[in-house]
Symmetry: D2
Subunit: 369 residues, 4 copies
């Protein structure tokens, strides 16, 4: 109940601290017989990896994943898959001055209030480094979802600070350090980040992720709606302050006659719902939008208090992303994959694996396929 496990049937239990010996996770419930090796996982870790451009933290680690269990002769055996990533670039000295003070916007104060002690090295457990095992586990889920159901994921940055990033094409996403679905505005984004870094400040970001090819019928009707579990996973990502499904907050000002996605023999006409109705997938794209707050660690000195409650000033010298949102896209995709993987197994537990005798409407993946 200490909240370090994501999922119910495809359970990912995360462990580690930013500057401890290692981070990692144990996946319990992975279907047996799936080909799996580190090569399936490493590319996703590399997408998330810091140090790849001047716009993200310069912490430089290979993030090489080791599969400790659950795979025999290249196939999953159905037993727990432990994924281990050793920490190799821990400069703990950067953080020594933070032990007695609370960095504004960080979890320093709340961890101390909860536990009475905390690991101050690099944010300890509250570091974004802990998303690495999530991305690794997500790669396993993605492989299964693609192989078995043909499901694919996409994601991109749609806003950087107060700059909207126009959508041009998903094809551009791998070609720039921002995960922008855009080619023409990249210089503008780079200039924005350079100015921000010079100012010693940070900014927020908005991320869009989607899952394509999800069958209709996944999700649960009441509390564990598919979108509720997505919101849980996304809001659990460091720095996320808002989550939308489909039309999101824009639906407040919509009329019912406009919001409801009409069904036609050719499929749904629109997708304001974001691929979920009543908590269950419609067969359309699952569309999710995230608000990520500005990085709390900035280079400018900030007033704060120490553990005795006395005023102090916090200065941050460690390596930090001036916009944590920049690297959030592959993580959000991984989280979406993990939620869908879990619901795939939940669906077949209750409703079985065999397709229901339901004629799908056009363009819809079959229900229990």
């Amino acid at each position: 109940m200490s909240g370090n496990t994501l999922g119910h049937l495809f359970r990912v239990t995360n462990f580690g601290e930013s500057h401890g010996p290692a981070v990692g996770c144990v996946i319990d419930g992975c279907p047996p017989g799936m080909p799996l090796s580190a090569e399936d996982i490493q590319p996703e870790l590399d997408r998330r990896r810091p140090g790849t451009s001047r716009h993200v933290t310069q912490r430089n680690e290979a993030d090489a994943v080791e599969i400790l269990s659950g795979v025999y002769e290249g196939r999953t055996t159905g037993t727990p898959v432990c994924l281990l990533i050793r920490n190799t670039d821990q400069r703990s000295k950067d953080y020594a001055n933070l032990l007695d003070t609370f960095r504004p916007g960080h979890a320093d104060y709340t961890y101390w209030r909860k536990y009475g002690l905390r690991d101050p090295r690099g944010g300890g457990r509250s570091s974004a480094r802990l998303t690495a095992p999530t991305v690794a586990a997500g790669a396993v889920a993605r492989k299964w979802l693609l192989g078995r159901h043909g499901i694919r994921f996409s994601g991109h940055l749609s806003q950087l600070g107060d700059l909207a990033v126009p959508f041009e094409s998903l094809a551009h996403v791998p070609d720039n350090p921002f995960f922008a679905a855009n080619a023409s505005d990249i210089p503008r984004l780079e200039a924005y980040m350079d100015e921000l870094r010079r100012a010693g400040d940070s900014c927020g970001a908005r991320i869009e992720v989607a899952a394509h090819g999800v069958p209709a019928g996944w999700g649960e009707p009441l509390f564990d709606k598919l979108d509720a579990d997505i919101a849980h996973a996304m809001m659990g990502l460091n720095a996320v302050k808002g989550v939308e499904i489909g039309a999101g907050f824009a639906s407040v000002a919509q009329r019912g006659s406009m919001h409801g996605d009409a069904l036609t023999p050719a499929g749904f006409e629109t997708n304001h719902a974001g691929g979920v109705l009543g908590g269950i997938s419609t067969g359309q794209d699952i569309r999710v939008s995230l608000a990520i707050k500005p990085t709390s660690s900035i280079r400018s000195p900030l007033p704060s208090i120490d553990r005795a409650g006395q005023p102090t000033v916090v200065e941050t010298f460690g390596r930090h992303d001036p916009c944590v949102g920049i690297r959030a896209t592959p993580i959000a995709e991984a989280l979406l994959a993990l939620v869908l993987m879990d619901h795939a197994l939940r669906h077949r537990a209750q409703c079985g694996d065999v397709e229901l005798p339901v004629p799908p409407i056009a363009g819809q993946a079959p229900a229990g396929a």
Copy 2:
């Protein structure tokens, strides 16, 4: 895993359908020795109850709650508390014509795809009626949280369709049918709703809820962050399409130098975080905002398809709220209470009940009190 239980230590398992014999829930994990009677629960059910103004559905039910177990001589015994609400005003004939068609924006199509069959009476399990047991369970949580920790809840409607509702005072909330924290704009809201009803259409709403007096230190660091569990609970509420904590989507355009809430000996200076840092409560107000889509059932005929995939037209004659958001405030408060109740117990399970030797900053409730 079929998702009808909310919470891990204060577990609320919900059952029932809109037009079945009853709806209700079983609460497992309620602390023993708390005075509890139907009188503690009924007022919250009455706040949620339909039929109280011309702006909400005219379904008229007493929603009288019966406590079937877990209470002996007026005190909780620590064993499961079953709360039962009989359905008394089911006009099933209103819905007979919907059996073969899918109402746009509703769960008809997705339930059918998931289960291969569905209960069409009044939306069956996907009806907002299923929030009644949630509100009842929330009343139990609220009583404990108030008695033991002095925690209070508030909520109000901040936007109705495209009308912003200016915040004037929480004192106004009980005095109008909209849960608006406003007195001067009520005639404008009533005119808006009357016009909407005449047009046979519906609109969305935005709701703000808050918890006051939550101790610092509640929540979990990784996946089950306090805000993640809040997002899960809120997105699981019918018609919710977006959830924000604190500054929410506005934080995207904020700078880090502005977003981070400064700590001073007198407490936090601001609350952009919405009372949660690193997934753990700060001791400030927990602030949540919800986007609720327009009611999917509108009186105007809508094109759709039938179960054979052929075009048809759906006409809705049942009783429906033209804005489901109007009645959402007490439900969202109940959900927030349930999440906090669960985390209160999770916190003391791991960290104990006795206050940690941590000097709270000014205005902060003690950690493990």
Copy 3:
């Protein structure tokens, strides 16, 4: 975490007290589309029902089950099935004298120490009456397991106090009030019970239950072994003090050369394992044996203490089974069915519904059938 839910995917949440308004349960995770009515459940409740012979408690209740949810037009919808049994014969006055004292062998003292208060009426929550909802839920599981996998259950009393009850035929079980698989010794058992009742005393019993036709491959490898979950369910039954699988305690004195069940092309030669190897079903009969302690309530006065710790004498005037084991057979069958049902769903969640390409050995049900 308060332990009132059995199962993970076929979740049965039990509520109620012996002399409260009702007992019941909510089943979450029931597969959709299964025909279900009260007529499927009532016969199992009738097998468990007291008052059917002079050898069991004379409490007389119809134990009529009402299905409150989850069934529409005679088929399960996949949403929670709430089963309600009203209590109709509560003679609370019988128990008033027990409020301040602790009956030896009962849960009076431990409930008081755990919760600080307790419902003394008829044992409150610790009453064997709470097995009624378990039997009702078990009937739902049995129907699905029979219809989908052809699994059947059997059970019988193999020892009554110090009388061994020779196994003659399962066909005799319904024909005597003891659930004995025996016809010739019934007069001896009746005389034994009459003597016991005259002496104002009680005795224990040994029960054997089995599941027939379970496919090979159900269960989990480590902590939640199929036999571990069976042991959990059985030891959770009131008055059970021991559980054996297959050869059980007799295996201590066996040699490995004798205990290991040889595999031959015609199937296993023996079943010392009781149908489970490494926590996973072999396809043979699942065989379980239970030790049930003598009823703690006896008519002879017993020394005890009161809540102030002072000596007192407890006299029991209520209606009690002189051997609770007599009615335990249908309950143990229901528990075995519930565990298998849960593992059936767990198996297909991870390994799928479709038969693996594994040639079964003779006499074995197919793996994932």
Copy 4:
């Protein structure tokens, strides 16, 4: 739901295979602030370790534990504790011949039926080696239970094959390779084992474990009774075929007038209950007895079948314990500690940490202390 996690609030998720790179576990929910280092864990691992006498498997590994997370400057932080034990003595070639055949009494056949493939090296996941992480986690639980509640554990072998081992004193347990509470019969046990090894055969064992100093009031009333969870944990241990609490199977032949443990102002007079009434601890010793079947791997050739269902002969050349029960005592103690640790946290989640106003009877530890 794949069953590799033990516990609900003190959750131990186990991973690894006998001959993979490592075995280990992640503990989620460990209370913060407890001093912890590898030195607290290693002694328990050493008690379990093979290769320490000629009567157990000659596999020789240091079983050195590494703490990968959750500890900072020698104290637990409240975040997940990952314990890693590298496998260092894997002679996989010993097992190559077993890939196509099923060893009688082993999990080979059932794993293959469940998953369609299996790791044959040293039994893969079904190896007793996977109990090492359990023992490691148990050491963490033991430290907390001792420090906070003064709870101690003991265990001993009470029967070896058909030899009863008279109880003399727990003080003898560390002095012989059998964990016997006996000094005078050790030569007899050694001769028995030598004879068994010469015969190429194996035998079973009976183990007694107890917890001393458990407060009254731990456990849950219905399904997750304290004894039910103990039975689950113990039956989940490799080779266990039976579990008893207190008088166990002997209670079948007892009369109620004799079985019920009388309460007196000086405490309970007897402990037939084994320290649990109605699923909740009484404050007396928790007493558990286990039946362990004879090791399935014996040196004599055994008839079996291959994957095509054809007859074959299985010969085992690996290193095996001729009596797995010999090393089971520290593992069973660890499991008992893990169950109690979980219930300690479950108890304080619901009932709080502060002692209830309940006067304990003599010799009883305080309830919620």
